[in-house]
Point group: C2
Amino acid sequence: MKSKVIGLDIGGANTKLASSDGTVVELHYLPLWKNTQLPGVLKEIAERLRPEKVAVVMTGELADCFEDKEQGISFIMEAVDAAFGPGKCSYVNSKGRFRQESEGLRELAAANWAASARLIGKELGDCIFVDVGSTTSDIIPIIAGEHRAGHTDFSRLLRSELVYAGTLRTNLAALLEKVKLEEGYCRTSSELFATTADAYLLLGEIREDQFTCETADGAGRNRTDAMRRLARVICADLSEIREEDILEMARQVKEKQVSLLAEAIFEVAEKNGVRRIAAAGLGEFMIREAAERLGFECVSVAGHWGEEISKVFPAYAAARLLDSEKA
Amino acid sequence: MKSKVIGLDIGGANTKLASSDGTVVELHYLPLWKNTQLPGVLKEIAERLRPEKVAVVMTGELADCFEDKEQGISFIMEAVDAAFGPGKCSYVNSKGRFRQESEGLRELAAANWAASARLIGKELGDCIFVDVGSTTSDIIPIIAGEHRAGHTDFSRLLRSELVYAGTLRTNLAALLEKVKLEEGYCRTSSELFATTADAYLLLGEIREDQFTCETADGAGRNRTDAMRRLARVICADLSEIREEDILEMARQVKEKQVSLLAEAIFEVAEKNGVRRIAAAGLGEFMIREAAERLGFECVSVAGHWGEEISKVFPAYAAARLLDSEKA
């Protein structure tokens, strides 16, 4: 890379990396909740890329291995500072600005979308930035270059600016209380028997190589294993239900998630007087469908900035902001 | 014990044991999905109690460590036969009868409530047997001494004879899509951040020693840890919300679960023309409330057979049936 600035997006399950010139893009599956490898992987990155400056956004502080958000934030900051040297690291706060020494740590919580929102506001103008990732959906109003979203996940859940459902990791039990089958409505199991990745793989919305999370039962990511997991959601195995019923369940997962998303986007759009969406994330297909139902314009982040960069957009945005502000 | 007949109820998370005279009652936390200790524990039981006959009911075959139900059933049967000797073991099928050699293995799937239903039908007459356990709620119509429920979990989910929600292990994300707080409706996280045990501990419906499942975050079973887990369901920590809000969330968990239960009981009652409930399980408090809302008579299994026996009722019923039929 020519650029000497990189951005890091440290989440509970994944850590993403991008250089400000967009030539380096990396995605590391790096769960914070299981004897995390984060400190070691960050050191490896520091030695390999030798960046001059590092811009950091995070959401991983919510992982339930931490007692509270401060503890999570401190852990992540210590790991980053130890790897790159504290003088080189800048942290994006929930307003999308770089943190001043005087600010509280809590300002850094759940700020990965704040960096994205500032870059999008700069380059695309007023819109609702909707990012459906592996686990959650961010619905961020951007007006006059500034985001207008709540500053904590809790406040965003209250304002429909965060819908806790994603393209891969979401437990189907959290989406579907019942499914409609030929025989009638069937209640579902509340265990973690299958996730949205299973449903979207079966529907052809994601490919097997995009199925980057663990499976609910530890088995494979192929169609048969995914069908077996979906069947288990209604306590059946593959000898008890038809393939068509399983696909019908998968379609109902999508229908429910698109509805949830459209409802939340509509609420945020009404409050902020914007009817234009900037869509990002693996679940862009759901955003396009929600936008169509609402009759909103929908600009693709992947279309504007490129497919690769869109996968690590918060990291890229943080790097870009740091590059332009601290040049 | 004077009796030489014991009953075993082998579930996915717990194995329960009772002698037919009710003097021995044991509950072993014994998950089938993590390098299970089942074979060893069964051998220990065989050596300690030296029963002449063993009646077995099971639901553990659904655990997602097994490829299908046959595999789960075979695994459990092999472990039981190896511990007690195959000649001594009788298996209850989904009709509540002991399996003949000629029957398929699948008849043994999810039959733990079938034994209970036969004993209840014998001693209490026509009723709906409702058992709210740690993980699920069985709603079994019993007419003229025979249960009229579907023979698989799948068919019971379709007929509202199984509601997959219990008193301890149920993920709150599967029950609550939103919670109502003073600030308005708040969406919930879809992770496994808290379970029904946390809510019912905070409401005083279960005691800490009845909180016999693992906690969602691996932390303690005290009030503070339970409150922390409930707060996490709306992505908050204890500094962000009031204790009263957390208790309000817990009350909404109960309200939702009692509603689900009442709705399912009503559906089963209408279909079978019975308005009398036999209530069992740790969640009896929810059944009583549902019965009150429906205006149904409610007989307590714990009241009739005693508190200790009610905790292991399927195991006890299996032992009683074997004792009377094979005497």
